[in-house]
Symmetry: C2
Subunit: 186 residues, 2 copies
């Protein structure tokens, strides 16, 4: 059932059966239906979320009602409003489900508890965070440097399965291009 | 001399005198002149760099020779080509000095050694990386959502001293706007 999480952790550090059971006991499982919200603007963001199954989008809505997609999340990805979560502020983004989802929730308290008790978990999250930082830098360069076609091709190269699962209108929003531009590309 | 680094670490975790001396022994000090390169495209990136004094810019040059600023770094900031550094690849960006600089270099091997020997250092780098991730997400939203004026105002609010030290042409490149647009704003 949570074999995915164990495999995911063990890509960075091995854990024993007992350790994994202990780690898993700090997560809470949650099922959500398509269109349901995982995080809502102005609410507290107590948890980070590991996706076992499904697809979500994290997006910001500006004062004019325009949506900007901050990130997608599918199997083995983590997603929350990190600014709100780490700094204990209110959410400024929404996260909702593009498909039915199964996720594992980890509270900030439980994350810090696990990290202080098990150095290998602190190590795991440090390495994950480093990789996340690199991915965001790559996205910033893509936004600064690439046109619609370049961004689309990069996304297709990095996450081919994502393109098949995300509706075109939402994909266009992620790439910062119009639906019409995207249709010409894909 | 390296009181800055100690203060910087102790914003997240206290360290004893002995611990700090041990930590510092893994860093190598380096002085660079204005215009000198810290990281050059196509080279290996053995070190991460903590800035004691000075100002640097990290930038990507595309096939047409256009420069995009990925980040600035000044006192108490860290800077390297993180993708190349963490993944042991060749650099795809350049980092050069906008002022004379004093930095402390930490190799990936020494970082991993320190992290495995001292959990508080693993903790320090995890928390730093989390904050870095949040800052990059904020920049992505700024690029997606804000116009030139909005980006300029946000930068002014977050890093007022940076604006006084960075030449306007370079600031315009960071914001992704023309020099003329920036002149109308500032």
């Amino acid at each position: 059932m949570s074999i995915e999480l164990r495999k995911h952790i063990e890509e960075i550090t091995p854990v024993s059966d007992d350790e994994f059971d202990y780690i898993l006991s700090h997560f809470r499982k949650k099922k959500l239906k398509k269109h349901q919200f995982l995080v809502q603007e102005n609410n507290e963001v107590l948890n980070d979320h590991y996706v076992i199954k499904g697809l979500l989008k994290a997006y910001y809505t500006n004062d004019e009602g325009k949506e900007h997609i901050l990130q997608f999340a599918m199997e083995n990805w983590w997603v929350t409003d990190y600014q709100a979560h780490f700094k204990k502020e209110k959410a400024t983004i929404n996260i909702d489900c593009l498909e039915d989802c199964e996720i594992l929730c980890l509270s900030l308290e439980n994350r810090e508890k696990l990290c202080s008790e098990l150095q290998k978990i602190e190590h795991f999250f440090r390495i994950k965070s480093n990789f996340g930082y690199v991915a965001l830098q790559r996205r910033i360069l893509s936004l600064l440097d690439k046109d619609a076609k370049g961004r689309y091709e990069q996304l297709m190269e990095l996450y081919p399965t994502l393109l098949q699962r995300v509706p075109k209108t939402i994909l266009a929003s992620y790439l910062g291009v119009s639906r019409e531009t995207l249709s010409r590309l894909s």
